[in-house]
């Protein structure tokens, strides 16, 4: 217990940990019902084709198969797109990407279901398709959709570039090619649909039960009220269970509806890797200029996102990329253009950072390039331009309230890096050492464009023994939302956190709370809980006051008791207060609601306040590079984060440590090898995510000087923890090898190519 006897800022055991560590937590795959069928999907293995007919006759002959359904069997709308109605649930006349579904199957065993799925045959007329977003936007390119391949363009236009350029003495230009990433949550996509005449319950591994509710209702043609979605314990998500799970859920619900039996759909890993959304690959072109004193004068950024075959959330991802393109730097003249293009590649979706990591990687690469051109240390160039006490206006013209912590994060991280020790000694060999720095300006919660979703619902029910049940609309997927909600509720009610049970979201217990994304889980659940507790106290405080013999306004809660302000000895147990409420039949349940504040923003110019407030962070990476083999070891990462207020220390640190290591994978090894839209490495043998043997030593500095508008002044951490790492690693590698690398990931061939001139076998290279 810290903070005056509350759990705030402490590290009490997470409420979900004990069940998880003993194997008692029931994920979807651990739940089987009598009569339950197993689903499978028949997926395309080409990325572009016209579809003649789909033949399910052989699939139906497989023993144990109960149903095979195609597009014509969908009772409602055959549509699954979150924002644009561009994605059919089941293929009609076109295949647009590998993984498009011809049919769904339900059978008595998973083996029979998947065997049946492979027996579905489709008559296809292959099309060339388009697999490069630059080609996709050229005149005459194959159109992925009738509307053309340009989905949307976003801009930021601020200041006079021409005038500013005249004052720049150094201009650097670069073209960055930044690859995508697979979420690689340990639990593949999973859902279970349970039909009852006229309505259906879906249990799903997901981030956004309300998205699934909408998707299933549309596909089955049911009112929203007839679709109940309960979030199952979720084995990792990272954005991969934001938009995507509506697809498997709709498939399972469809089959359950047809067969009138529970249907469970578990994705085999290979299908999960091949068919689900990815972090967007981006091309980012930069032209930035600075004057002799090392002050940034202008920045021009052109971003192109490969949306893949369906828009999904790509425009929303692009919106954040667009607003994040300049970073936490003071630049008077800014031009940003962000375009989204359809291709026949796997489709991009939400992934931790949501478009910001790619543009951050680019702006931090350019800062280092500029520093080298100017003969300044990269840290020094950042000091001269970073937002801080004197510079408080962002690239979109938003003036931030003091204190602005980017500069403080920079100094803290640089100091922590110098003091840090590597986790392990290097194996024998020739190693070059380098240090790299990267900053992020993270817009907390949803962008202005998605603000209608920035809301949340909570229910708090006081129990007769003084414990409390809490329901929220935001999900636990490993990040710690349960413990954050528990901490906030326990602090507000003044009771021990073990007496607060937060249950997983269920669409029938709380109102639509929007998605659990944008690092807003603790923020949105916490503020809704605080509102519910405020409402409860309007009823509780008068009862407590009567029992204590004081005024309701004097009632304080803490230590599992109500007490009188200024008279700490005068207390009554919470249990007794609630029992008195029950005896008098006073309502012991309250709802709470949160919505973000309205703000000004002009989508045409990109100017205004895209976000309400910001979290800043700086990561400094130290690496060792074997220039002959192109191997990189990340030895140490120092992370300084502007967190507002710590709610739960272990959960917060866990987000930072996990974010850094996941970003290290993206930076170095996690290459999506696509050939004509098909993933060539759909397995963990050749899609390499970091292991315990790769993890760097990590030092963390938490800055609590600048409160956010989250509960108790907190700010989100899920994404800021990820965003700067890859850029810091890139800059460290470039520092080590003395060459610029403009591609991500920095795989051995990319590094060897970059050091080609000094490589002992350079004469063999083309």
């Amino acid at each position: 217990m810290t903070d005056g006897g509350t759990p705030l800022g402490g590290s009490h055991a997470r409420p979900d940990a004990l069940a998880k560590v003993t194997g008692q937590t029931r994920y979807v795959g651990d739940i089987a019902l009598p009569g339950m069928l197993h689903a499978a999907v028949a997926a395309a293995d080409v990325s572009s084709a016209r579809v003649g007919s789909v033949d399910t006759s052989r699939a139906l002959e497989i023993p144990g198969v109960e149903a095979v359904m195609t597009a014509q069997d969908v009772p409602g709308a055959n549509l699954i797109g979150v924002i644009f109605p561009d994605q059919p649930l089941l293929v009609e006349d076109r295949v647009r990407m590998v993984g498009d579904r011809f049919a769904v199957v339900a059978a008595r065993s998973p083996e029979a279901a998947w065997r049946s799925a492979t027996a579905v045959s489709a008559q296809l007329e292959p099309l060339a398709g388009v697999h490069d977003p630059v080609e996709a936007l050229k005149a005459g390119a194959d159109a992925v959709h009738d509307s053309g391949n340009l989905v949307h363009t976003f801009r930021v236009e601020r200041g006079d570039i021409k005038k500013a350029e005249a004052r720049a003495t150094v201009v650097v230009e670069a073209e960055y090619r930044i690859g995508g990433q697979e979420h690689a949550y340990l639990e593949p996509q999973a859902c279970l649909a349970i039909p009852e005449a006229g309505r259906v319950t879906v249990l799903a591994s997901c981030q956004c039960p309300f998205y699934i509710q909408q998707g299933v209702a549309r596909v089955l043609g049911l009112p929203l009220s007839a679709v109940r979605v309960e979030q199952a314990p979720t084995g990792g998500a990272f954005g991969g269970k934001e938009d995507y799970p509506s697809e498997p859920a709709a498939c399972a619900a469809l089959l359950a509806w047809r067969t009138r039996r529970p249907v469970r759909l578990l994705y085999p890993r290979e299908h999960d890797l091949q068919a689900t959304t990815k972090r967007h690959a981006m091309r980012v072109h930069h032209r930035w200029g600075a004057d002799r004193a090392g002050r940034l004068r202008f920045a021009e950024v052109d971003v192109l996102l490969d949306a893949g075959a369906y828009a999904g959330l790509s425009t929303v991802v692009a919106e954040r990329a667009n607003a994040s393109a300049i970073g936490p730097y003071d630049v008077a003249a800014v031009r940003v253009r962000t375009r989204v293009a359809y291709t026949n590649n796997l489709f991009g979706g939400a992934f931790r950072g949501f478009g910001a990591p790619q543009v951050t990687w680019a702006h931090e690469a350019t800062m280092d390039r500029l520093a080298r051109e100017l003969g300044l240390h990269p840290v020094e160039l950042r000091r001269r331009n970073v937002l801080g006490e004197r510079r408080r206006v962002t690239s979109t013209g938003q003036r931030l309230p003091a204190p602005v912590m980017a500069k403080a994060c920079l100094e803290k991280a640089v100091a922590a890096s110098s003091a840090g020790q590597p986790a392990r000694a290097l194996p024998p060999g020739r190693w070059l050492h380098g240090t790299g720095t990267a900053l992020v300006l993270y817009g907390c919660n949803l962008h202005h464009g998605g603000q209608h979703l920035d809301r949340s619902s909570a229910v708090v029910i006081l129990q007769a023994d003084g414990s409390a049940v809490v329901r929220v609309g935001l999900t636990e997927m490993g990040q710690g939302n349960l413990v954050a909600a528990q901490t906030v509720a326990a602090t507000a009610l003044g009771i021990d956190p073990v007496k607060v049970e937060v249950w997983q979201p269920d669409t029938t217990t709380v109102a639509d709370s929007g998605p659990t994304v944008a690092s807003r889980g603790a923020h949105a659940s916490g503020l809704a809980i605080l509102e519910a507790v405020r409402r409860l106290r309007r009823r509780l405080d008068p009862v407590a006051a009567e029992l204590l013999g004081c005024e309701p306004s004097q009632v304080m809660l803490g230590g599992d008791a109500a007490r009188v302000f200024g008279e700490p000895e005068q207390t009554i147990a919470m249990e007794q207060v609630v029992q008195e409420m029950v005896r008098r039949r006073i309502e012991t349940i309250a709802t709470g609601w949160y919505r973000s504040r309205r703000r000004r923003f002009d989508p045409a110019t990109g100017l205004g306040s895209p976000y309400e407030f910001y979290a800043m962070a700086c990561h400094v990476a130290r690496v060792a590079v074997d220039p002959d083999l192109g191997l990189v070891r990340v030895e140490h990462v120092a992370a300084a984060h502007d967190v507002g207020k710590v709610l739960h220390r272990d959960a917060l640190e866990g987000q930072i440590q996990g974010g850094i290591v996941q970003a290290m994978g993206w930076a170095l090894t996690e290459e999506l090898k696509l050939s004509r839209g098909r993933l060539l490495n759909p397995g963990f043998t050749d899609y390499l995510i970091p292991t315990s043997d790769d993890a760097p030593a990590i030092s963390i500095a938490l800055l609590e000087d600048a409160p956010g508008s989250g509960p108790f002044g907190s700010k989100g951490i899920g994404e800021p923890s990820f965003i700067p790492t890859a850029a810091a690693i890139r800059n460290a590698v470039c520092d080590a090898i003395g060459a610029e690398v403009d591609r991500l990931p920095l795989t051995p061939p990319v590094i060897v190519e970059a050091v080609a001139a000094r490589h002992p076998f350079s004469f063999l290279l083309p």
């Binding site: 560590v21 194997g23 340990l186 084995g235 440590q657 290591v661 292991t691 990590i698």
Partner: protein, 157 residues
């Protein structure tokens, strides 16, 4: 496919199962014995979520045929503590924040328990030998902390 009879000691208890000859140990545990604590993350021996102790050795149970376990001693996450409610590593994982989404956790604590059982307490050695258990949430830091904390506990075996 014919069926086979497999007798083994499962979490300290003598058990006999009649299973199809091609049954994986993972499926015997989850579907026949009802021990769903062991997870399937990839089905290809790449992720470690299905790790169990087979005669004391941590193995991915998705790559082990049930029929090959005749006479074997198998311990799953449910049996890790033995007579105790929790193995010291399980307790340390709870106390040190080593658990996030939890899907890798049964495999991690099972491999970790084997490391401790064999006196492997040096963090780098632990990191090297835990590399078959992928975790996507924690960055491994707090798992290492939990391993260190559990190693410091007085052995009560």
């Amino acid at each position: 496919m014919g069926s086979v009879t497999v007798s083994l000691v499962l979490n300290g208890e003598q058990r006999t199962f009649e299973v199809p000859a091609g049954r994986r140990l993972l499926d015997l545990l989850r579907d026949d014995a009802g021990l769903t604590g062991t997870k399937e993350g990839c089905g290809a021996g790449e992720c470690g979520a299905c790790t169990v102790l087979l005669n004391g050795l941590p193995v991915p149970s998705c790559l082990v045929l049930a029929a090959s376990c005749e006479g074997a001693d198998v311990v799953t996450v449910e049996g890790l503590g033995g007579d105790r409610p929790l193995h010291p590593l399980q307790r340390a994982m709870v106390e040190r924040g080593g658990v996030q989404c939890g899907f890798c956790t049964p495999g991690v604590v099972t491999t970790g328990a084997a490391l401790l059982e064999h006196g492997i307490t040096e963090p780098l050695e632990q990191g090297r030998r835990l590399a078959g258990n992928l975790c996507r949430c924690t960055g491994y830091s707090k798992i290492f902390e939990a391993l260190q904390a559990a190693a410091r506990e007085p052995g009560d075996d």
